[in-house]
């Protein structure tokens, strides 16, 4: 059996590990369009901020690929998938055939059509190479504009503010930072902190043009409001989109992301998909959608890999969540976080600590924790289980007595899909 995995990050590697666990003999090839072996992708902000050296970036020990007998090919971008022929075309026009294919291509940064976006000094921020490019350009930089106040934008801004003498301005189109994950109360606590630490935040505005100097290097941005901000670097962090270009005309069904069933199988029998490129089950919304986060990608990968090697595990579904310890403040969001007419919202403030719980009837469907995020996983597990909660349990959740819920067996233990493997 020849297994081909496109993508060398969390989804792809979890699949490769799950395959090798079940199939000692099969050939596993993993293709990466990047120039490094697997690394901790979110670590790029720690790397840029100088907290993590390149040696500490790697996700797996140096012996990993050899021990799992994975033929990893870095710098091997796929141009096209020829699903009918069970083959992929690489950038150099060579072809590689497979028996089973996993599409784990992840997301790619979205850059809207914007005048001047090709100026030198304009970057995106999703890869190690992006971080290196930004580092190389930094000596020229006093002012940075970060376009986008979401997770990636804030990570970039937090890393850049640690560079001596660099002033960072975040430009966010929504009325608040982390607007998709945090409600108004949460955002304003975070934004106060960001500004306290010297980073400027401009909301309800957007960059309409990047203006370069005569050498073609970025010189300033023009905002929709008419304001112009001088800068020597722009980081575009508006969001990521599923990387599905290579699947065009392959016959693989794509909605926003690749459509899969509960076995992470696409509409084609020998093609599976995992990670940020996939629309898979969302427990709370009870539909299939993109949840572009690490734990979900990893679990997709395990399920896909198991199924590819003949073990019909089902994906139980995941929930959106994120943890962002940036700007010296811990922020966690799990499940739904914004008010909706059908949800009961309960807020608790203690100094700069903020907790918000969202209930749909007697079920917990979402949590925001700012400041004290300890034991957040107990709440994650309660959300994932979607059990009916009695009045006492609900009160304890709101009171922050999570441990007592754990102790009295009220914690719903939602297992990862299979036994965690030992790394060899």
């Amino acid at each position: 059996m020849r297994y081909l995995v496109i993508g060398n990050s969390y989804g792809g590697l979890a699949a490769a590990e799950a395959i090798r666990k079940r199939d000692e003999e099969g050939e596993i090839t993993v293709l990466s369009n990047e120039n490094h072996e697997a690394y901790g992708r979110p670590l790029i902000s720690y790397y840029l901020g100088g907290e993590v050296s390149s040696a500490r970036m790697y996700y797996r020990p140096p012996s990993f690929y050899r021990r799992y007998r994975i033929d990893v090919r870095i710098n091997s971008a796929v141009r096209k998938v020829l699903a009918q022929e069970h083959a992929v075309v690489l950038a150099d026009d060579s072809q590689l055939s497979y028996d089973r294919l996993l599409v784990a291509t992840g997301g790619q940064p979205f850059v809207p059509p914007m005048k001047g976006a090709n100026a030198r000094g304009v970057f995106t921020f999703t890869t190690w190479k992006d971080a290196d490019d930004i580092k190389a350009w930094l000596p020229k930089v006093k002012d940075v504009i970060v376009i986008g106040g979401g997770l990636i934008g804030l990570s970039a801004a937090d890393a850049l503010r640690h560079q001596g003498g660099v002033r960072v301005t975040i430009v966010e189109m929504l009325p608040r930072v982390l607007g998709l994950a945090l409600d108004e109360d949460g955002s304003s606590i975070l934004q106060d902190r960001i500004e306290e630490l010297g980073t400027r935040v401009v909301t309800e505005d957007s960059v309409v043009e990047i203006v370069a100097d005569q050498q073609g290097a970025v010189n300033r941005v023009v905002l929709k409001s008419g304001a112009e901000l001088l800068c020597q670097m722009v980081v575009i962090a508006i969001g990521v989109r599923p990387a599905v270009e290579i699947l065009k005309d392959s016959g693989i069904r794509i909605n926003r992301g690749v459509a899969v069933d509960e076995h992470m199988q696409t509409n084609l029998p020998d093609v599976y998909a995992a990670g940020d490129v996939v629309e898979a089950r969302d427990i709370i919304n009870e539909d299939n959608r993109i949840i572009a986060i690490l734990p979900v990608a990893y679990e997709h990968g395990v399920i896909a890999g198991a199924n590819m090697s003949g073990d019909p595990l089902r994906y139980p579904g995941g929930i959106a969540m994120n943890s962002m310890p940036k700007f010296e403040m811990s922020v966690m969001t799990m499940g739904l976080t914004l008010d909706q007419p059908d949800l009961e919202a309960v807020r608790r403030f203690h100094g700069t600590n903020y907790r918000k719980f969202l209930f749909r009837g007697d079920r917990l469907v979402g949590v925001i924790l700012i400041g004290d995020t300890s034991a957040g996983g107990i709440l994650t597990s309660i959300i994932k289980k979607q059990e009916l909660l009695d009045r006492v349990t609900k009160e304890r959740i709101i009171a922050g007595e999570y441990f007592s819920l754990a102790a009295e067996k009220k914690v719903a233990w939602s297992p990862a899909p299979e036994r965690t493997q030992e790394l060899r």
């Binding site: 720690y46 754990a406 914690v411």
Partner: protein, 171 residues
């Protein structure tokens, strides 16, 4: 490919809350044992005792069979070693993804160190210091084969914590 059921480390820490009198000796011995890993703060214990309705519940990593903290780890620093789930603190950055995913609240963010710390089993000791310190038998070592038997026994008993104190799995 897989480790045998005993793993490379043929022991686990099993908790029997009904025997805990809350003396806290385990906490003190834990602090001492992990102190070298704390560079910027006083050592923090990785075992806690919760007082709930006049009962004591010692709380420590369960080394989950299906460990969500490993799936969620962005650096790869959290990994399985034998039957234990351990951490390479040289690589942890304190991102807290594991804390967000641990159903037992057994991982603690140490802000100053930028580390998410948990019980890693004290594998360099023949007997883990917390177990050695426990006079009541609330903490015991058992082999892993035995551990699963112990856990079944605990579950079978009417103890409220039965489900919580097995070494993992969805039981």
């Amino acid at each position: 490919m897989e480790m045998g059921p005993m793993g490379s480390q043929g022991r686990d820490i099993v908790v029997d809350p009904s025997r805990c009198d809350g003396c806290g000796d385990c906490i003190e011995s834990c602090r001492e044992a992990v102190s070298s890993q704390h560079k910027k703060t006083d050592a923090l214990s990785r075992i806690w005792i919760h007082d709930i309705n006049d009962k004591r519940y010692p709380m420590v990593c369960h080394n989950c069979e299906q460990a969500p903290c490993v799936s969620a780890c962005m650096t790869g620093c959290r990994h399985r070693m034998g039957e234990f789930v351990t951490t390479d603190y040289e690589r942890c950055v304190g991102c807290s993804m594991c804390i967000m995913c641990c159903p037992f609240g057994a991982i603690q963010l140490v802000q100053e160190e930028r580390l998410a710390m948990k019980c890693d089993g004290c594998l360099s000791y023949e007997t883990a210091p917390c177990v050695k310190a426990c006079k009541t038998g609330a903490l015991r070592h058992v082999g892993f084969v035995e551990a699963s038997f112990e856990n079944r026994k605990l579950r079978a008993s009417s103890l409220a914590l039965a489900r919580l104190y097995k070494a993992g799995g969805d039981g």
